[in-house]
Amino acid sequence: MTERTTTAPPRDPATLHAEFEAVWGNPKGWRALSAVNHTSVARRFMVTGAVFFVIAGLLGMLLRAQLAQPGQGFMGAAAYNQAFTMHGTMMMFLFAVPIQQGLAAYLLPKMLGARDMVFPRLGAFGYWCYLFGGVIFTSSLLLGLAPDAGWFMYTPLSSDTYSPGMGADFWLLGITFIEIATMAAAIDIAVSILRARAAGMGLHQLPIFAWSMLITSLMVIVGFPPLILGSILLELERSAGWAFFDPTRGGDALLWQHLFWLFGHPEVYIIFLPAAGVVSTLVPVFARRPLVGYRWVVVSMIGTGFISFGLWVHHMFAVGIPALSQAFFAMASMLVAIPTGIQLFAWIATLWAGRPVWSVPMLWVCGFLVIFVAGGLTGVMLAFVPFNWQVHDTHFVVAHFHYVLIGGMLFPLIGGIYYWLPHFSGRMPSEQLAKTGFWLTFIGFNGTFLVMHWTGLLGMPRRVYTYDAGLGWDLPNLVSSVFSFVMAFGIATLLLDLALHWRHGRKAPLNPWHADTLEWASGTPPLSYNFASLPRIATRHPLWDTPALPETIAAGQHALPQAAHGRRETLGVDPVSGRVREVIHLPGNSWWPLVAGGMLALLCLALLLKLYLPAVAVALAAVAVLLRWSWENGVHPGAVAGEGHDLPQGLKLHSRTFDGPGLWGMGLTMLADAALYASLLFGWLYLWTVVPGGQVPVESPLGTWPLAAVTALFAAGLWTLRRAVRRLRAGSDAGLQTHLWWAAGLGVAGCAGLLWVQAHAALQPALRAQDAVLSFTLLFLLLHGALASVLAALQALRVRRGHVSLSAPYEPGVVAMVWQFCTVATALAWALMALLPMAFGAPS
């Protein structure tokens, strides 16, 4: 049972609301663009995602119209290639991940008993990057310059030799820009789940949707960087002629495939797991009992997340990799079905043991169960290498992934939207329209894609814009195309229902589904601050165990029941136990996210148009904006109002401690950076050991000792910073500014060393792939060293201004993480690129 946590006498809810609204409310008119409140930002993510879904869906309709009959001239090959590339890319990057991150950003603070995400401005910045990047990318369609090399952009087709136009650049630059949003959201979500929860909510009591988003976000942080790296390398190859994927210059086209699918397979589980979390949330509510096997479901999701990183080569079974190596991935691909199956059995067991109530959301859950299981079974079939070879690149594969993606993601998402619709808007949808929409979509989907398995088995390849009559493909294609229009009508019906319900839907009662999770206590529609006071939670089902919780929360009877101090506050907790550690103060509305997003959009455009000098200027300006934004942090008056003397006994504001969200956010950012760097080192070793003729010379062009010297300089800077942090922890800030200036100086010296190495190495990145990797590595280390130096210098300035001191000791430890990364990365470069060739390189 939830403990009663009446830490304060009840207050008048109306007065309390006005007090909170003054601090948390969004500005009106055009100033609303500066809002950083998670509810507003998340709504924008979801609406924008829905718009991109409709555009991508219309592209899908064009594809089906073209394939309805053999020999049609409705679309030529060029238009068709652009259409399927944009359809797949938009669905995967502009719809599936962002809309679920938007749903998570909307729900999680409410489910976890917090008032906002921990990085509100970062979330807003992510939205602007997503919007601007998505608009730039989609505009390629209108300009007739859309990419046409498929959503996975295999080299050499996507290299400048065979894709000389701007299409591939739109993909590489546009998608990388959008991925900033995905990464930002993932870091925000992960840290929010770990550190900003209700008091007492331990890991074992997390809402199951929070578990799914935590695992998904960690997968994004590790899984997206390989693609980011690959995209940067390919764009460098296209624009600067550097050789990474060109086999005539020591590169390898398969390196792109490895980097892409290292991202690409986890990506599909990044898309599936949030939907599984939605299903795990809905099923117990409509079964009217707790989820059977909560711990089994958590372990299964974690297992799925990890195993998914060991499957990527099953997308490459036809490239000629040896049988034993393929077999490892085949076994892992079959293995991943087991944890997914465990989740399925948990859901079935919950329904079986409960007293199910059938509703519109449950219709979609049932549709998911049928379609996703079918897709999963064909996935296990595809895991068998001999069978895979038969259906590789046919419509069988297209049918499989539409079953798992639409069944495994879209159906739960729509079910979730219908479930939380009363929460979003305070109104109920039309049952009639909703059910009509479901059946049209379900029947239309199965009519389209079930038949497509047969089309594939009959040998029809993917990505062909037409086909000859008489091959046995005519009738199946016609059936698929007709049913695709049925499905489109289904989606249109749903959109109509959503649009009409805002005006005509009946008012929703409080908690219409009698759910157990906390978000239903935040108001329907939700208040800008979610909760007027923050309850202590010691159960997985707070609203079932304490039905009066919404009233006591609104009356201010729990923690932090005031906002007259002008601060946006939520509780910071221990990630495992949920014990309260500090009060997290959150930034208010800000224009910095919009400005920074706009600068990056300009940078993207400059690079697209190959205006490289202006691009450098814009990049420097963007960095300046980001650093100026970072200045309004911690105890800066723009980041926190008041000194926090009015906090509950024993608690401090997080910027007055050594821990806080920023430390965790920086840690996860460095993890992402490490994933990117590990991918780069993988590329180095791959080009050396696996590519024929890829031997590196025993004498590294980088020399033996220069990188060691740079490593020593960065290490000295790290030691200096760590010493400063140790002294702060011991209660002394004497010499703090000096330490920071010394660290900055050592960093600058290290960067000078890297420039010296670059100048003396005589590398030829346009002639040799290995030289390209070495050049890119030096540039990577230089950028990080420069960043570390600038951050240390900024810290020194903040000490001078009083924003960092013994009473505000938080930030140097955060910056030290960047230094740690620099030092380790340089050391690894020295070991693998300078020393290892001495042992195993080819004599010159």
Binding site: H204, W296, I302, I307, G310, V313, P322, F328, L335, V690
Partner: protein, 104 residues
């Protein structure tokens, strides 16, 4: 599971490098030094993961069966399940090395 991923990358990467620099003769079939190394590494990893699963399960049993220990029990039991998953996954993924010739 992180350790399982490390094992997986080491196995796949190791086989790839070995096939590039010193491939065993195809005439030997699956009975060669490379497959033996893969299987030995897999067997020892499976044993290590299995042991960790047993230790975690034992730790879970030692937590007092009251509400205060619920969080610790959850973590210990989950860890045990994940180590067991890693052990099973290692054994299963390495199984093809019993039958298949490497590098061909």
């Amino acid at each position: 599971m992180t350790l399982w991923l490390v094992w997986f990358c080491a196995t796949y990467g190791g086989v790839a490098v070995a096939c590039a620099v010193a491939p065993p003769s195809p005439a030997l079939g699956p009975l060669n030094w490379l497959n033996a190394t893969v299987l030995l590494l897999a067997a020892s990893s499976t044993a290590a993961f299995g042991f960790a699963a047993w230790v975690s399960a034992r730790a879970a049993r030692r937590v007092p069966p009251d509400l205060a220990g619920a969080g610790q029990r959850f973590i210990a039991r989950s860890a045990s399940a994940l180590y067991a998953t890693a052990a099973f996954s290692t054994a299963l993924v390495a199984l093809p090395a019993v039958l298949l010739t490497p590098c061909a």
